[in-house]
Amino acid sequence: MSYTLIGRVQSRLVATLPPLIVALAIHRWWALELVGLMLLFGLALDVCVYDKLIDYQPGWLALPLGAGELGLIVLATRMPLTWRAFDLFALGWVTAQVCGHGLFPRLRLEYAQSGGELGRLGAIVATAVAAVTFASIAGAVAVIPPTVHLHGVVQGPLVITHAQTLVGGVVRGGVVIRSDHVTLKNVTIVGGEYGVDIAHAQHVMLDRVRLLDFKMDAVHALDSSLMVHRCSVSAPASPLANGILITYSMGRPMSMVQKCRIVGVREGITTHSSMVDVVDNDVVGTTLHGISLSEMSMDTARGNRVESARGIAILCMDHSVCEISHNTITGALVDGNQDPSRQGIAIESYFYAEAHVHHNTVVASPGGVQALDLGVVTR
């Protein structure tokens, strides 16, 4: 079809209606942002490139143009594309094709000969879509949690009861989070019963947080959903202190612990009755378990490196269902000779747990991979 500029813009705006409705319905910032970017890049390309270069657009050209627009969005956001984001983009693309080739020509006989222009009603709808999209984004931006930059050392415990982003600084005595949409970024936390204590909260993000000198757990999350990314946990105050504990969070969205380095604690990463992705972490020198997925959890442990764990490196326990893959376990240590379940086991499925195990590398771990006390290992 040979679009006029107005035709391109109107067709694009009206075809954006379904993804916009989805974005508003699921009430997620990323979705609204994606629809906004789709429109922004699309309209910019329409005005600056397509209208100038493409006199006639054959049907097949929609595919490379769509791929190009998607590539630009990914480059601009510098974020890997999630499947959900891809689905939303694909919905927009498919809608544009269905509208452009089927719906619009059906509803408006002159659609093609008018170069994609949609007439008075189309112009009204197009304007409304643009207005709603950008108003929604403006509205969302207006309610983005405030960002607080911490300078120097703050004496805690710091209690956070409303959505906000804390950036930088050192907090002594721990941080208590009791609100959704809290982000800690580049914060160093020293001391406290718990380094970070999270309860009944979701959309919590710990990004590049360093945790030291905590007495019980570096991160303790109860009935919460959180993302822990590139954290550092070391130098606990007590030999009984644990690393990251996510507990009783089955009713919350999934959590994720990714690319953290955890050294010298009792249990490195532990879940109870939760759904957690434990991915690409380094866990070194734990005294009880490296990674423990337990109490009816449904977890994934993938791409982790567990080194010198005493007794058990990765444990799937107590009716949990675990996907354990692509991990590297080296030097799991025998912990005495009384307990057969702690004989330097790399991966253990224990007490009615079901561990699906594949593509793991086990080095110098005398216990190997085992299923004990009615646990099951499948490969």
Binding site: D55, G102, P105, R106, L109, A112
Partner: protein
């Protein structure tokens, strides 16, 4: 009666279907023509030249809305792939079946009046057709004025067979098809032509089918427009292996050769008695062989708030360069139907 369509070919049928799609009742439309079956003339020509596929694409059909196109009725899955690359050519048989369906669904037969119209006169708030009735809105869908026959030849669009030696006059789609046919019949072929054939997918660049190309076209001065229309009228045919073979070119038909005139149609309003009379009677503006039309295919001098005279088909090129295609017929029909519906 609120409107009349003069003509009974494909342009008339698609105009009729468009009016019906937009809610004009069948009893408010009269169709004056010589053939109850709107495909009669076209079918004879297509069959004479042994045409198997349309030159137009999936949307080259007669229904009012562009979607669904012919490809959706062609139960051949690869056709979908061909259509997104603009290589889909609907089979003639499919097109004729579709035309029959449009004829039946639109109620064409209820509005058809068998009559060869001799003259049209502006009369008060409408037009009298052969001195009868007053129709506020009239669409002329007259088709081509006739075949461009040459003495001592058989025209490509008339039934014929192929002698062992065939000379084809012309360099357009019909000529290329005749080369292919004669070759398939085992004939020795020579080509007689004034210029080398142009190879382009459609008669007219695609951009001129939409407002993107039409808006600048409508802004052209008269001389530039005439020049462009002459250029677009040069014979052409699409690139395809079907026609890619050597044909010997000669200046005169060699003795003993069957001569086929693939010379298309007579051109210009003066070749059509009805249009020539209309122009002369109402002193309509013309340039070269074209009647000057408004961008919406209406005749400016005879169209106002209350009445409409539109021209579809080959005679409507001043408004739409590809007027002799189905897309051209639709262009005029849509504008016409908008006016009819607006003045309801």
């Amino acid at each position: 009666m609120r409107c009349a369509i003069v003509g009974s070919g494909l342009a008339a049928l698609t105009s009729y279907a468009t009016l019906r799609h937009r809610g004009v009742p069948a009893d408010e439309i009269a169709v004056f023509g010589t053939h109850a079956d709107p495909t009669t003339v076209w079918r004879i020509r297509a069959s004479s030249i042994r045409q198997q596929r349309m030159r137009s694409e999936s949307d080259g059909h007669l229904a009012a809305a562009a979607f669904p196109g012919l490809v959706q009725y062609d139960h051949w899955l690869p056709a979908l792939l061909w259509t997104v690359t603009n290589r889909y050519r609907p089979p003639i048989e499919l097109f004729l079946r579709h035309a029959a369906a449009v004829r039946e669904e639109s109620g064409w037969d209820a509005s058809f009046v068998e009559r060869r119209v001799a003259n049209i006169r502006a009369s008060g708030a409408g037009f009298a057709i052969d001195g009868e009735g007053t129709f506020p809105h009239v669409l002329l869908a007259l088709g081509h004025p006739g075949l461009m026959r040459l003495p001592g030849t058989v025209h490509a669009y008339e039934p014929h067979d192929y002698a062992p030696q065939v000379a084809v006059i012309g360099a357009g789609m019909a000529a290329a098809t005749e080369w292919r046919n004669a070759r398939a019949a085992g004939s020795d072929i020579v080509s007689i032509r004034r210029r080398e054939p142009l190879r382009r997918p459609l008669n007219v660049p695609r951009v001129l089918f939409s407002k993107r190309g039409l808006a600048p076209y409508h802004r052209l001065g008269d001389d530039a427009r005439v020049s462009l229309l002459h250029d677009l009228g040069r014979p052409s045919y699409p690139r395809s292996r079907e026609w890619d073979f050597e044909v010997r070119v000669v200046d005169e038909p060699p003795p003993g050769y069957q001569v086929i005139a693939a010379t298309g149609f007579r051109k210009g309003f003066a070749e059509d008695a009805l249009l020539a009379d209309l122009v002369a009677t109402h002193d309509l503006a013309t340039r070269d062989r074209f009647i000057v039309l408004a961008p919406d295919s209406t005749v400016p001098r005879l169209t106002d708030e209350h009445r409409t005279l539109s021209v579809a088909g080959a005679a409507g090129q001043w408004a739409f360069p590809a007027a002799d295609t189905i897309a051209g017929a639709k262009y005029a029909a849509r504008a016409f139907s908008s006016r009819v519906c607006r003045t309801r």
